[in-house]
């Protein structure tokens, strides 16, 4: 069976389960909403300050929400040892990871589409003129987060104290995504909106490097 078809099968399974339970999307939506509100209470920024802090706030909110969500991704497969069932199947082990990466990416993307306008309203920053570019930057960064996050979730699923471990492993590796993402977003929300080619290529480069590494190492990742 081809890699794309088996990836598609795993992705469809993830989406079906999520549509039935809404566990992951509900958690993430609620978490991001809380961060958007609480941050405003804590700092009550002026419009100008908002423009400056909003890029960082958006990225951190989605990073932490993603970390929270990704923890469940492989723990879920342990309840009935379904990971073993996936590994028994005659498919490339990277299909298991890629299917889950795409599912996690979609869940986060949905959250972002919902929340960018809400952030815009809460912080009085008009994002409409640059919405398309902003979402492009967010998607590139979110994809990197999903790739590394899913892989680390697979790695830590059987470790002690995995809830603490995942953010510790994930956040330092994601530093380049955070820097590039925040910088690109700042440029878009700045006085002269534009998009830095170098930040996009950094985000794209990160995605390409880690997708390749995941593809090469997937056999080890799902091992018992």
């Amino acid at each position: 069976m081809s890699l794309t078809r088996s990836t598609g099968a795993v992705l469809a399974k993830e989406l079906k389960i999520e549509l039935r339970t809404h566990d992951l999307t509900n958690t993430v939506l609620f978490f991001v909403l809380m961060v958007a509100g609480l941050f405003s209470f804590a700092f009550s920024p002026t419009v100008q300050e908002s423009r400056r802090i909003l890029p960082g706030l958006i990225w951190l909110a989605f990073f932490f929400a993603g970390t929270l969500m990704l923890q469940l991704c492989f723990v879920r497969e342990q309840v009935n040892d379904t990971l073993a069932a996936l590994r028994l199947a005659p498919i490339d082990p990277s299909a298991i990871l890629f299917g889950k990466i795409l599912a996690n990416f979609l869940f986060l993307v949905v959250t972002e589409i919902v929340f960018v306008p809400i952030f815009s309203v809460f912080y009085n920053v008009n994002v409409w003129p640059v919405m398309g570019q902003l979402l492009l930057v967010l998607f590139l960064g979110t994809f990197g987060l999903s790739v590394v996050g899913t892989v680390f979730s697979a790695m830590t699923a059987q470790a002690r104290m995995r809830e603490l471990l995942l953010p510790l492993l994930l956040l330092p590796v994601l530093a380049p995504v955070l820097i590039a993402g925040v910088e690109a977003t700042s440029e878009l929300l700045g006085a002269h909106p534009g998009i830095g080619r170098e930040w996009l290529s950094m985000l794209g480069g990160f995605d390409v490097i880690y997708v390749t590494a995941t593809w090469l190492l997937s056999g080890f990742l799902v091992e018992e």
Binding site: K16, I17, N80, D81, A84, A85, A89, I91, E223, E224
Partner: protein
């Protein structure tokens, strides 16, 4: 049911060792199971039965030694996987999905043709046709076990590995299991099964006892009931 095509798959363990840190689950164990054999595995908890079965299913890599599948010399690793079925301790199905959805999903992973028809047939064979649309999470222990067996049979494997298949089944379920096992064996599939259930075990043609990761005894079926009485 007509499971298992002509060529069946055996398995050979060649001085296999599996260590989990200081713990040695299997110790230089050598064992050969020919295609078409029906083997019962006995041994106290922690004697290595589950590790042996999972190793035969290619889920666990040996620390040293080799696992070979007899009759798979010209097959790619993926094609070997395609011919193996495992019924494990846990059900290996998704609680959130219905019985039918679970089987359809795995049928898709095995790239089976006319999947829908096959799923329907297997559901009928394990006696779950009336609950096909219900989520697996709502099933009783015995029904989950039936679904787990259905999951393993969906791809018509030639080497079937059962880890305590009788757990959770009532008397009627056990009779059904015995019939199914006999049917599979007659159709030429290789069966390896760990069990504590005497009547299910009595179907096997060969009995193997494990102790602390070693082969303790390997006998033909005729001696099995007597041996079991002494040993357990």
């Amino acid at each position: 049911m007509n499971f298992a095509l002509p060529t069946s798959l055996g398995v050979e363990f060649d001085r296999v060792e599996k260590r989990y840190g200081g713990l040695r689950a299997l110790r230089r164990l050598s064992l050969s199971i020919a295609p078409g054999e029906f083997v019962a595995l006995f041994g106290p908890n922690g004697s290595g039965k589950t590790t042996l079965l999972r190793m035969a299913a290619l889920l666990v890599q040996p620390t040293s030694g080799k696992v070979r599948h007899i009759g798979a010399e010209n097959l790619s690793p993926v094609d070997v996987r395609r011919r193996i079925g495992l019924v494990a301790h846990k059900a290996l199905v998704y609680d959130e999905l219905s019985a039918r959805e679970n089987l359809s999903f795995f049928a898709k992973l095995y790239a089976l043709d006319n999947a829908e028809e096959r799923v329907g047939r297997v559901l009928g064979a394990v006696g779950l046709a009336h609950r096909a649309g219900d989520a697996a999470g709502t099933f009783s222990r015995g029904m989950r076990q039936r679904l787990a067996i259905a999951r393993a049979l969906i791809s018509e494997p030639r080497l079937l590995l059962f880890d305590e298949p009788a757990t959770g089944l009532d008397r009627q379920g056990r009779e059904w299991l015995e019939q199914t096992l006999t049917g599979l064996h007659e159709a030429g599939a290789t069966l390896i099964m760990s069990t504590h259930d005497d009547s299910v075990a009595s179907l096997a043609g060969r009995s193997i006892w494990l102790r602390a990761g070693r082969l303790e005894r390997d006998t033909a079926a005729a001696d099995a009931p007597l041996e079991r009485g002494v040993r357990q």
